[in-house]
Every structure is written in C-alpha cells, then in structure tokens.
Amino acid sequence: MLLRHTPTEVKERKALMINPAKTCQPIGAMYAALGIHGCLPHSHGSQGCCAYHRSALTRHYKEPVSASTSSFTEGASVFGGQANLMQAIDNIFTVYEPEVIAVHTTCLSETIGDDLKQIRDRAQKEGKIPEGKTVIGAPTPSYVGSHVTGFSNMVKAMAELAEPSGKKNGKVNIIPGWVEPCDMAEIKRLAGMVGVAITLFPDTSGILDAPLTGEYKMFPDGGVTIDELKKCGDAMGTLALGEWCSADAARWLDSKCKVPCTVLDMPFGLAATDRFIDVLRTVAGVTVPDTVAHERGQLVDLISDMHQYFYGKRVAIWGDPDQLISMCEFLVSIDMQPVYVVTGTPGKKFEARIKEICAGQPFEVKVKAKGDMFLMHQWIKNESVDLLIGNSYGKYIARDEDIPLLRWGFPILDRQGHQYFPTVGYKGGLRLLEKILNLLLDRKDRDDPETGFELVL
C-alpha cells in the first residue's frame, strides 16, 4: 500500500490540504505565455518558483520550457524587486532576443506589492525595451485561486493588447483555455473545416510539440503574434472556451473593445463539441460541411457499438473545472456515472454545474471544489469505482485500490501521447473513448475466468 495512512473514515479538515488537486497561479501564466510567438515567460519572484514551474511543464511535455526569473534575494524581498526586473529585462533582450517578455508574479512579489505596470513603464522610459519589442505583465498571486486562475490572468493580459481600429475584420477570436498543444491545433483544424477565420490565443501548438532536427529554437515557429493580439479588438466576436480559463479575457474584450463574446464549455465530448461547432457556424454565418458531420457520426457510432461496456460504470474524476464540466457531461451522455468529482480550484459555480449535469441520473454525485485527492481517495475507500480519470498523481490510488486510471489533465508525468493526440472535438472524443474502452477491456481480460475469457469483445 502506497497511501497506507489514508483512513476510510472521513473527518472534516479546515486547515490541512493533503494531496492537492491544483497547483499555484504562475505555472498557468507561464504555460499561457508560451502560446505567444517569440515570447519568453518571466517569473517576477525568487527563482525557485521559476525552476519548479519549468520543471513541471517540462516533465509533462518532455520539451524544453524556457523562462527567466527576477531571482529575488532577501534584500529585494524587503525593499522591492524593481531593480531585479529592470536588470532582467535588459539581460533578456540582450542575450535571448525574444519578441515579447510576458511577466507574471509570485506570492513573494505580490505580498511585497511590486507594481508591474510602473516597472514596465520605467523600463520603457529608460530604453531597456528595444524598439518593436513588447513587455506584458499579469499579476498572479499564488495565494488566490489556482494554476487555472494564473492561466486566465495571463490570457487577459494578452487581450489587453487589443488596439481596436473601429473596423471589424471578419475574424472570430477563440480562447481555447488550458488545453494541450494538439487540442489547440485541433480547434484550429475544426474552425478551418467549418470555414471560419479565427485568431486563437494562446496557441502553444508548434511550441510545446517541436520536432528534433539538430537545431534548438528557443522560440519555435508557432504561437499567436503580438500583431494578431492587437487586432483581436477588431474581431466579430470572441468564443471563450471554459468559464474559468477564458471568460475574463473575453469579457474584457467585450466591455472595453465592444467585441461581443460567448462563453462556451471546452469542447470535450459530443455535446460540448456540438455546441462549439453550432455557435461557430452561427456567428460566422456559414454552413457546416459534411466532413464535420462525418467525424461526429463516427463518434456516435463508437458510442453505440460499445455502449454495453460504458453503461453504469462508476468513475472518480479530478482536475480543473472547465475540463471536468465537459468531461462529466460526456460521461453522463454515454451512461457512465461520474460519482466523485473533485477540483482543487475554488468556485461555487463548479459544484452547481456538476450537480446540474448529473441531475436526474440514477446515481448520486459527490462533488467538491477546493477539495483534494485525499478526500476523493477516502470516498473511493468507502465505495469503490470502476475507473479513475485524472493526472498522474492518481496512479497511487489506482495501484492501492486496483482501479484502472485514464491519464487526462495536468500534469501527466509518466505517459506520452497527450501532447500529440487531441482529446477535444469529435476526433478527441473518439480517442477518449478508445482509451476508456482499452482500460475497461484490459481489466475484463485480466479478471475474467478462463472459461469466460473471450476472443471477441
């Protein structure tokens, strides 16, 4: 037993978080910033944060993740980090030559109250920011929200670059939320199939899935450009995928630049993808081609072909709110039962939404925002499930309780494929179902008695 000290009896905890289902803001901001073309994320704090965030993203992607840091010392922590950031900006542009530096903060610089905007203006005034280069910033206090909040804050800082010209450009902004690079590519592919011109931001495709060629590009081809971000104020509208990840930026564009927005669920699974495509064709006034309906039909086909294996299976699932909402809806739609749903990210709306999705179903859902994996494990110990869906930290529960685990979400540290094969859209739905089926059927093959061991399933 790996988690041998986890008791079955659930006692309420008010202060001690055990095995969190979240991490802190800046890593989300770092990930988002990597989706800007030619951008070096910069962590304004002591250097440990930056090292940890780079390591976590690298372990997830098996790709280089560059980011710089202000490297606060004790002196700077007491008297302010302005000098550190000014020096950093100068050094970064001289040595690494990015197009953009995207600064985020940590609990350190937020507690002492460093003013990013003032420091940037000063750097500008003192000529530390070369002609044509950009420095953006987002406050990302680690003691508020989670990594999802940090992602959202940096995406909002991107939107704030908008310089509306007053003339619409016929494009649609899509804010994909915290999904994998391949998911971002898939969203672009779907929009392309439907025939809608889009600006996707952030866009990590091409950046965190780079090829091995013998050349290292710190700034690979890919990412949304500053020019595109400036023009996102001229878009017809914005589709924000995910309330937690994407809505703030979209609403900012709506209120400040008069770019109307629609907040949708992330397009995981059949219904959420349906809504995404349907809104896309409506806002753009186009007809959805048969190729898209064909992909959709394949997903429906797979559900019907293998429904017997999905039906009634109990699932424990944890991760980030936007992803969990669509995924739970998907599970319910194929008659699976997401009985335990946990996110570490705060937000009352989350619990209400999950309950709504599971309402009227033949099972009772236990859902918790600001929860942790320790609590979820205790629930499982009280009444087990057939499948776990979540990040790599679930493997400890999977082994102890002998339950198959579908690795999905962040971080995945012990398997590959997640950055290459999307789980959004109809194609992504097919992949998710294939993986779920493989797990359930492998388990069946392992557990069936010899007499009932079947070739054809």
């Binding site: 001690l16 802190c24 280089p64 490297s71 002492i112 290292y216």
Partner: protein, 545 residues
C-alpha cells in the same frame, strides 16, 4: 551533431571569450569570475572561482531556492515525518514525489512519502497572518496520523508577513507531548540558491533530532552515511555493500531515512560524507559535539567505491574488517570490469559535460573515466568555493550580503556524550598513512588542465558550450534536457537519472556504463535529417525502371 566531425578546435581562452561576448558589460564582468579555465594541476597555483553569489536576473539560471534545498532535498526523504509546507499550494505541489528518493517503509510501515501536506495559504492568511491555520493544520495532521514528528517549512510569503512558525511548532509540541514538532525558516528568497536551505535544514535537524535517542545502537563498525539521498536506489546499493562488509550504517542523511536514524546519529563512530555541499554542516557539528570524525567518501564509480570502503576499513583498523572489505571488492569487481571492458570499446575517448547541483558534477567524473571518457567541462549550480577548490580555502571565504542572514549555530562539546573516537596519536597516525579527516579536495583537482569550469551555468552558456565543444554526452537536469537533445546531443539527467539507477556502488557502476553506452551509441541521433533534406537538390529526373 554527434555525428559531425570536430573540425575546429577552440582554445579554452577562445571559448571563455565566446561565452562572454554577448553579455552586457556588467554581466560579462560578473560571469567572467564564475567561468574559469582549470589550472588546478600539481605545481601550479590553482585559480580561484567565484561561487555562491547571487544569480543574475533574467539570465535563465538552472538554480532553485532555499525551500527546495531544505524541504525538497534534506527533509523530503524522511519517511516517518509529516512535512507540512506552510505557504500557498505551489511549493508543496512541486516538491511532491518529484525527487526520486526511494523509500522502504520497513516493518513499522510508517511512510508519508507519497503525500503532500500544505496549509494552502489564501489571501486572508496573507492579510491576517497564517499562524492559526498552521496550528490547526498541525493539529489535523496529528489527529489523522499520530506521527513521530511533524516538520514545518516556511515559503516566501511566510517571512514577509511575519508568521512565527517556530513559536507555533513549540506550542504544538508541548501540547502533544508525544510528537516532535519543529520548523524551518527556509523562505525561498534566503541566500542565493538551494544551498542556504541545506544549511538551514542541517541546523534544525541537528538541534531538534540528533541525539534524541539515547539508547545505544547495536552493531560493529558503526558509521553514518551523510549526504546520500537514495535517488534511484543509490543508498540501497551502498547499504547492500556495507552489509556484505559488516559495516553498520546507523543513519543515512537522508535517503530512506527515518526519525530514529537522525535521533541516533551520535552513536556512530565515523561519519562518511558523500555530498559535501549539503551535509558538511552536520558532519562538523557531530564532530564538535560528540567527537565523531568525518571523512569524505564517494560511492559513485566502482574504483571510487572500493577506495571509500578501504578508507573506512583503514579508519577502524580492524583486520577482520579489512579482510572482509577486500573480499567484497574482489567478489564484486570482476562483473564490473567485464562490463566496463565491453562498454569501453564503444565509449573510449568520448567526451562529457556535467552541470549538476553541488556534488555530482565531481563524483560522476570517476564513472566517466572508468569508461575512458573525458570530462571537458563541468560546474555546479550552487557549490561553494570549497566544493570547487577544496576545503583549505574555507578560511578565506567571505560571506556576502546575500548570505549573511543564514543562521550559524554554535555547537560545543557535549558535557556528557562528547567522546573522541580516536586519540590524537591515532588520528595523526591515520593522517600520516593518507586518510584525510574533515577534508575535501574539491572538483577542480580532478579535472584536466584546460577544461572549462562554470559556476551557475545558464541556458545561453549551455548552448554555446555544446556548440563549441560538441560533447558526446551532456549531463544536467530536467530543465536542460530537451533543449540539449534538440541540438542532437544525448543528454543524461544526473539528478533524476532519467528514471534509471542506482548508479552508486558496484551494481550502480554497471548500470551507468550500460546507460551511457546506450545514450552515446543510440541510432536516434542519426535520424535528424530526412533524406530530402540531406540532398535537397534534384540533379536528374526520376526514371521508373
């Protein structure tokens, strides 16, 4: 790149100039002192390096922070302590199972390694202070687990808002009576790197744990293994060898360690130091307070392992032990030598670079030389000058403003338990026969003349070094791994071992030889160009046969 011929040979001076060329003048001046061309050969004055100084902002350092050095490195591996991170969630999350300190829960089964405990500070805790929440978290941990000890680790905001974690710990310890609660002021901004965290951890472990268990430990030839963290099972392999030799390991600091091991460390008769950087403080304090001498050992490399075992045997001076050690070496070496001889046919003459924390950049030189490979450039993230140049420079070290506030604790000889293990005469005789006590020669003397030694290497310099010197293998950590591999150069992680290991001891040497052989001779490095990229110009039209 691994396949291209090395046409240009740069002199070390040219390489250093090239590394510095692009920097703003102030940065170039600073970095010039942290990049040295090794001259530490006999009969020459060794040159000085600047180390353990603040990181240049924006330079893309490899370094981490004090919390990582304290919680992540030293206390993290202790299985029966509940380690609570007092801070927002990140610090606890990122240090959750990411260092590969392997652990055997033992017969009592107490093992909190797979858990992450945090007070998950929120904005109201920053505003109103987090002491109450911390006390409540300690109480909840106690009620849930009843551990022997609960350790509290401060993170950046804790120092700034003024939470008195030591007072909270003291109060809770008194309240429980049967659970040792103690705290570490290891805020991330302290010092300039992980190193400050090591020091803070050493002080508190020594103050709150060492000596707690007064009951003597059974066994012959009792030692402590200091600064060995059982990454990938290194400590298991070393313990296997100790057992064969009949050496009793009282406490490992701190791979696969337990509360009781720390508490009993004063019962050993010799301290052996693996990672000098992280644990030399405890080694010195154990000597001052209890009279236990320490020697530097290295169990990375088969020859180094044999040498270290002989040093231990020599210290105890017992015929039975000396014979057993020789028997074990004789038993273990043939397999090692057979693999080395085979691997050498494919690794001889190849080159390596190593930029690892505070000790491995030195230790692994032994393993590479056993394969006939040369280390052409090396350095530490956070080593001090003594780790580069040897402990004789310590009296000349100046503590700068950035590290001045790291606590130094005063330790004196214990009235009751101070007991010099050897008489002055015995110590002198051992020294005369070549055993160096309380000494470490550092990395530089083991590096060839003209090699490049770089302290606090950054992303830019790493790329430049690879471009100019084209090593056959580059060793560093996860953050460096994939950018180096994109250049077509095999990259070996010497922190996590890329999920491999053990690399210590005899079996570890075999594992390492095979791993490096696999890496430098992998076919993958020849696939970087597609056929149409190697011959992009069509010279004739294709004719179907």
């Amino acid at each position: 790149m691994a396949k291209t011929k090395k046409l240009v040979q740069f002199t070390p001076t040219e390489i250093k100039d090239e590394l510095l060329k692009k920097y703003p003048p102030k940065v170039a001046r600073k970095r010039a002192k942290q990049i040295m061309i090794n001259e530490a050969q006999e009969n020459e004055t060794p040159s000085e390096i600047v180390a353990n100084v603040r990181t240049i902002p924006g330079i893309i350092t490899m370094r981490g922070c004090t919390y990582a050095g304290c919680k992540g490195v030293i206390l993290g591996p202790t299985r029966d302590l509940v380690n609570i991170t007092h801070g927002p969630i990140g610090c606890g999350f990122y240090s959750w199972l990411t260092r590969r300190n392997q652990t055997d829960p033992g017969p009592d089964g107490e093992n909190y390694m797979p858990y992450c405990f945090s007070t998950d500070m929120q904005d109201q805790d920053i505003i109103f202070g987090g002491e109450k929440k911390l006390a409540a978290a300690i109480q909840e941990a106690y009620d849930l687990f009843h551990p022997k000890g609960i350790a509290i680790f401060a993170t950046c905001p804790v120092g700034l808002i003024g939470d008195d974690i030591h007072a909270v710990a003291k109060k809770m310890k008194a309240k429980f009576g049967d659970c040792n609660v103690f705290a570490f002021s290891c805020e991330g901004y302290k010092g300039v790197s992980q190193s400050a965290g090591h020091h803070i951890a050493n002080n508190q472990v020594f103050t709150h744990l060492v000596g707690e268990n007064e009951k003597p430990k059974e066994g012959e030839f009792k030692i402590n293994l200091l600064g060995e963290y059982n990454i990938g099972g290194d400590g298991f392999e070393i313990d296997r060898i100790f057992k064969l030799c009949g050496i009793t390991n009282i406490a490992t600091f701190s791979g696969n360690s337990s509360y009781d091991q720390f508490a009993s460390a004063q019962h050993a008769d010799l301290n052996t130091v693996m990672c000098h950087r992280s644990i030399n403080y405890v080694a010195d304090m154990l000597e001052t307070k209890y009279g236990i001498p320490w020697i530097k050992v290295n169990f990375i490399g088969a020859n180094a392992t044999a040498k270290s075992l002989r040093k231990i045997a020599e210290y105890f001076g017992d015929k039975k032990l000396i014979d057993r050690v020789e028997a074990v070496i004789a038993e273990e070496m043939p397999e090692v030598e057979a693999v080395a001889a085979d691997v050498r046919t494919r690794t001889e003459g190849k080159t390596a670079m190593m930029f690892v924390g505070g000790s491995r950049a030195h230790h692994y030189g032994e393993l590479f030389s056993e394969m006939g490979m040369k280390t052409i450039s090396a350095g530490y993230e956070f080593g001090h000058r003594d780790d580069y140049e040897g402990r004789q420079v310590i009296p000349n070290l100046k503590v700068d403003a950035d590290s001045r506030n790291i606590e130094e604790i005063e330790v004196v000889a214990d009235d009751k338990y101070y007991n010099p293990r050897k008489t002055p005469g015995e110590m002198q005789a051992l020294e005369e026969s070549g055993l160096k006590f309380k000494h470490y020669d550092g990395m530089n003397p083991d590096m060839d003349k003209g090699t490049i030694i770089v302290d606090d290497l950054n992303q830019y310099e790493a790329e430049k070094l690879v471009e100019l010197l084209k090593p056959d293998v580059f060793c560093a950590g996860i953050k460096e791994k994939y950018s180096i591999q994109k250049l077509g150069v095999p990259m070996k992680q010497l922190h996590s071992y890329d999920s491999g290991g053990p690399y210590a001891g005899f079996k570890g040497a075999v594992n390492f030889y095979q791993e490096i052989d696999r890496l430098v001779n992998s076919k993958v490095w020849s696939y970087m160009k597609a056929p149409w990229q190697e011959n992009p110009e069509l010279t004739a039209t294709f004719v179907w046969e």
